[in-house]
């Protein structure tokens, strides 16, 4: 039992490390690519916000992953099966993530985890096809199709609006004075809502949703006023030559982009860390000798542990990935990066709040495709999009098979 607990803890840390090493590039690469932040600054910001996201919003998603597809009640009679099962799910998704990274295909931790749970539930003696909540699984699968589409449409519309109202206008700087505070206040407002509404119990304010909405609106208004004033102070009394206008606008969008990148790291932390830690939380629970509760809560310390794993992954490997990806996407100007990141983070946070475990990577791919289709990229490689879609399709069956085999292997070992 103790050995299994050690394995579970180690695996959880390893998964968090992998996410830190690979996935964090999602949010920060655009900022580094656009040249708004240096690599070092990006790493520091990413660490802080990934950690906060995991700590503050992570729990909600975790519960869905653990309980949504396979009801806990199935395993009450034999917690060991559940514990080992979740362990094999984590191992399977870690293996598949590593293989995919070697093939340099972006796959999602969330998808691998769901696939693993499916595989384990199918082969375990207590499970079988009957115990799986196919409707819940269908909902999750549907959200994987809908979320990148939402990200794409959102980013498309956002970028077209930036083009239409800022870049195309006769007085672009004048309109940037409205657009930048607008983006800033929207980011803060949504961040506030996501942290408080169904967030961490410790900071959840006991108010109905419309009350929170009202406070969020207030935060929006105040932050709009403040940022408008700051921009106004900087821009007023300065003659900007026609030639330099574009540069000035992009500089403002660059500052906004930093905030949205933090926002995205936050959303990523909340969504993906949860899906990495979720299954292990279940097995640790069992291995430390507790019974399975029907709604076993995950201690915030476990989420903090996951967050720490991410930060270490970021510090040891992640910076390289950010540098590589950032170098590849220098095409993305701050205004485009802002559109993509804002659309991604909002979609991811909304889905996390709805308890839908979706993939940040996929929403990001959707959002960048959206910007590209809005004619925001010099060229959009449709073949790579097709490849990404194909690796998405194979993730579920592969991680299901892996998890099933690992479970079968582990259960045949006589653990004391």
């Amino acid at each position: 039992m103790t050995l299994l607990l050690v394995i579970a803890v180690g695996l959880g840390f390893y998964k968090a490390w992998t996410i830190g090493a690979n996935d964090v590039a999602n949010g920060m690469a655009t900022v580094v690519g656009a040249g708004t932040l240096t690599l070092k600054q990006a790493i520091i910001l990413a660490s802080v916000f990934e950690f906060l996201g995991a700590f503050l919003v992570g729990q909600h998603v975790t519960e869905t992953i653990k309980g949504g597809i396979v009801p806990m009640e199935t395993f009450v009679s034999n917690p060991m099966v559940f514990g080992i099962g979740m362990l094999s799910v984590a191992a399977a998704s870690a293996i598949w993530l590593n293989i995919a990274t070697l093939l340099s295909r972006p796959v999602s931790v969330t998808q691998a985890t769901i696939g693993g749970i499916l595989g384990f539930a199918l082969v375990s003696p207590l499970g079988g096809p009957k115990c799986i909540q196919w409707s819940a699984l269908g909902g999750i699968a549907l959200s994987w199709i809908i979320s990148p589409l939402t990200g794409a449409v959102f980013a498309y519309v956002l970028y077209r609006c930036i083009v239409r109202f800022v870049l195309k206008s006769r007085h672009p700087v004048y309109f940037a004075r409205t657009a930048v505070p607008l983006g800033f206040s929207a980011t803060l407002g949504i961040l506030f809502l996501s942290a408080t509404y169904k967030g961490l119990p410790a900071i959840t304010i006991n108010l109905p949703f419309y009350g929170l909405l009202l406070i969020a609106a207030g935060i929006c208004a105040i932050s709009y006023a403040i940022s408008w004033y700051v921009v106004e102070l900087r821009v007023r009394d300065r003659r900007i030559r026609l030639k330099d206008r574009y540069e000035v606008i992009e500089r403002w969008f660059g500052r906004l982009q930093v905030i949205t990148a933090c926002y995205m790291s936050f959303a990523h932390g909340g969504n993906d860390v949860a899906s990495a830690i979720g299954p292990l939380a279940g097995s640790m629970h069992v291995f430390s000798g507790q019974a399975i509760g029907t709604h076993s809560s995950i201690s915030p310390w476990l989420m903090a542990f996951g967050g720490a794993g991410i930060v270490i992954g970021l510090a040891t490997m992640g910076y390289k990935v950010i540098a590589t990806v950032g170098h590849k996407i220098t095409e993305i100007t701050p205004s485009r990066g802002f559109a993509a990141a804002f659309a991604t983070a909002t979609t991811v946070l909304t889905c996390s709040k709805l308890g839908l475990p979706i993939s940040t990577t996929f929403v990001m791919v959707g959002a960048i495709t959206g910007v590209g289709l809005a004619r925001g990229l010099a060229s959009l490689d449709l073949r790579v999009i097709r490849q990404i879609l194909s690796s998405w399709v194979v993730t579920i069956p592969i991680s299901a098979i892996l998890a099933g085999s690992i479970y079968w292997l582990l259960i045949s070992i006589p653990w004391r």
């Binding site: 690979n22 996935d23 590039a25 999602n26 690469a29 995919a100 990274t101 340099s104 295909r105 972006p106 796959v107 083009v163 870049l167 195309k168 206008s169 006769r170 672009p172 026609l242 030639k243 206008r245 574009y246 990935v321 590589t324 990806v325 590849k328 996407i329 095409e331 993305i332 100007t333 990577t361 990001m364 791919v365 960048i368 495709t369 590209g372 289709l373 004619r375 925001g376 990229l377 010099a378 060229s379 959009l380 490689d381 449709l382 073949r383 790579v384 999009i385 490849q387 990404i388």
Partner: protein, 222 residues
């Protein structure tokens, strides 16, 4: 994770490079014209070699851009406008090379009173090409700005000016043609060669205007 691959390489920066190379060819037209008038046939051969080399380099650049543009790439501008832009640009270099090659065929004796008209025409053509380069250099930056805004407006204005300059070069071409056809100083071969050279020069201006028009389509038809 490698989602960054969906952002393809920008064809616009190489296109600016190509435009610069093509203009390099056109810049050699004036030295060739000077050598023709001075009757320095050795210098002409040397110039023609240089011209062919530059034209070849431009060709290579063009092929490289073409290769990097398979249909799997979604472009922010109309694909046909883009390929036409490249084709027309390529023809500018071809015509500049043609001009240099024809100039080496035979030592021409052109009377001094025609020199001014000839050089005026040559200079106008080079001027059209310079104006085109100035516009083409905006291409990469325009793409970053989604082909809208003050810079795009400015480029559209300059494209109008290029069309006007091409018309001026046409007038100069006609004026020069009237002179060398109407006077009885020359033998028919000289006139044929002069005519060929003038056609090449007119071709440079023509294609430059077409490139500019294609750029306008890219801006308007995005």
């Amino acid at each position: 994770m490698d989602w960054a691959g969906i952002v393809g390489k920008s064809p616009f920066l190489p296109m600016v490079e190509h435009a610069k190379k093509v203009h390099e060819c056109v810049l050699k037209v004036r030295p060739v014209a000077d050598a023709v008038l001075a009757g320095k046939i050795d210098e002409l051969t040397e110039l023609q070699h240089q011209m062919s080399k530059t034209e070849f380099e431009a060709d290579q650049l063009k092929d490289l851009i073409r290769q990097s543009l398979p249909t799997r790439f979604f472009l922010p501008v109309n694909r046909d406008d883009m390929t036409n832009f490249l084709t027309q640009m390529d023809r500018i270099a071809d015509d500049a090379e043609d001009f240099a090659v024809v100039a080496t065929f035979r030592k021409l004796a052109i009377p001094a009173e025609l020199h001014a008209d000839f050089l005026a025409f040559v200079d106008k053509v080079v001027e059209v090409s310079s104006a085109l380069l100035e516009v083409s250099e905006h291409l990469a930056q325009l793409q970053k700005q989604a082909f809208v805004g003050p810079e795009a407006e400015e480029v559209l204005l300059k494209i109008q000016q290029i069309a006007h300059m091409e018309w001026e070069s046409d007038k100069l071409s006609r004026k020069f043609a009237r002179r060398y056809y109407s006077e009885n100083w020359a033998d028919p071969v000289t006139i044929i060669l002069l005519d060929k050279m003038c056609r090449a020069l007119a071709g440079i201006a023509d294609h430059a205007e077409n490139v500019a028009k294609n750029l306008r389509l890219m801006i308007l038809r995005k």
